[in-house]
Subunit: 245 residues, 2 copies
Amino acid sequence: MQPDQIDKAWRVASKCEQCAIRSLVLFADLTKEDFDLLHYPIHELNFATGETLYNQGDKPEAIYTVRSGLVKLVSYLSDGSFRIVRILRQGDVVGLEALDNKNYLHHAVILESASFCRLPVGEIKELNDNSPHLFKQLTARWQRVISDADTWLSKLTSGFAKQRVAHLLIYLSQDCQSTQCYLPGREDMGALLAITTETASRVIAEFKRKGFIKLVSPHQAIIDQEALVAIIQGDEEDPSAQNQR
Amino acid sequence: MQPDQIDKAWRVASKCEQCAIRSLVLFADLTKEDFDLLHYPIHELNFATGETLYNQGDKPEAIYTVRSGLVKLVSYLSDGSFRIVRILRQGDVVGLEALDNKNYLHHAVILESASFCRLPVGEIKELNDNSPHLFKQLTARWQRVISDADTWLSKLTSGFAKQRVAHLLIYLSQDCQSTQCYLPGREDMGALLAITTETASRVIAEFKRKGFIKLVSPHQAIIDQEALVAIIQGDEEDPSAQNQR
DNA sequence: CGGATCGTTGACAGGTATCAATGCTGGTGG
DNA sequence: CCACCAGCATTGATACCTGTCAACGATCCG
């Protein structure tokens, strides 16, 4: 290794080790010795809402750790329609399929301006070959993706449109400290829940009228978790029972 | 290692190395030296239709490779209903979440009498710690689960009931050499596609009447792939255009 | 034979998709 | 500065699909 590269590696180590969200990321378990195995510094990238991180079919050269913001993974169907198959947030890894030498399976589009750490595939593989510390986190991430996908399947695609929207809002509020959460555009909401734009709009409009959600900005809402859970459980507020609680 | 254990290990190696479907399974890339690392022989288990491999929440001690047959992973929702989140077949691994020390996330129920290789979690972990050859296959399997889940999400939960059923049948026919495939019970079909038992029944009955599927046994059908693809693409056979092709 | 389980079918109500029109908002260019 | 436009959200009317409730047939088995 060249002296200047050693220098770079040290800067990497130093930078990653001081990372504020290190406990959340793929590199959580790495030691100083592990960081020494990296050849190049890890770059941090910023993207604005609507920008594309990569497209389906692109040849993958890196995976990305989400430092902040929100990303959707979009899959297009043969008929031109599209579905959003996942939403990724702080600590999640985007483009995991790159490790299997497969092309990217989705389009990755930024929902809320986001920053990423770019992890070149070669570095990850080499690190994993030469250190046992990455494997555990990789395993954990795969598990989480799968278990999230299962939740998605079982909750977000069953039941009435109202229930699905309620499930989605609760899901989205889970990573916010408060009851505030990202409110997707109506078209995205449809692509998430397998309903039409119009139905999504109607449900959201109704929730707003009933005070279950309050907009603080076009894409941020405060949600009434309790009311939404009631919706999920099918408690339709019966007008005749209006003042029984 | 005791002599008799070495002997066992050799039998394992011999047995696994001669496995007829070895190229499909988790141990595909292992060398003779890797097999020597195993302490106990790998057991083969047989289950009949309807039997349960494990239940959601069970403490996991093993993962299973499907040698033959069909397994469904079932997830129950709070309201008592259930969804089938995955169907596993030859070469697939059941219970991958066990590697992450999590309890089993689903109920694993046999759809078609199946045989498995039982792989104790401890053995797998040790093997993975001491040999680099398992990791590649593990990675590949996680990837496949995720990419299958995405397909599921994007295809099997969108569109009309007819289209979903058509998608399902094509999906199920992919692992059969021919155009013959497993035909799930109507309730299972509902749990797979997020439709009701009655709707599933109506669609299947219609497909049978139109000759798109032909039963060869209660749970095996020959499918007209072309007709099903037409259904998926929304080509509804217009009676007035009956003889235009 | 009777019972249990599963598949099929019917009638009807209710939810959602579809088509269409109308606000609303932010940005652009005159 | 304001008119205009593009994109998004909302709302309405209607047709269609699916869920629901119910009944009936088929098959298997004790």
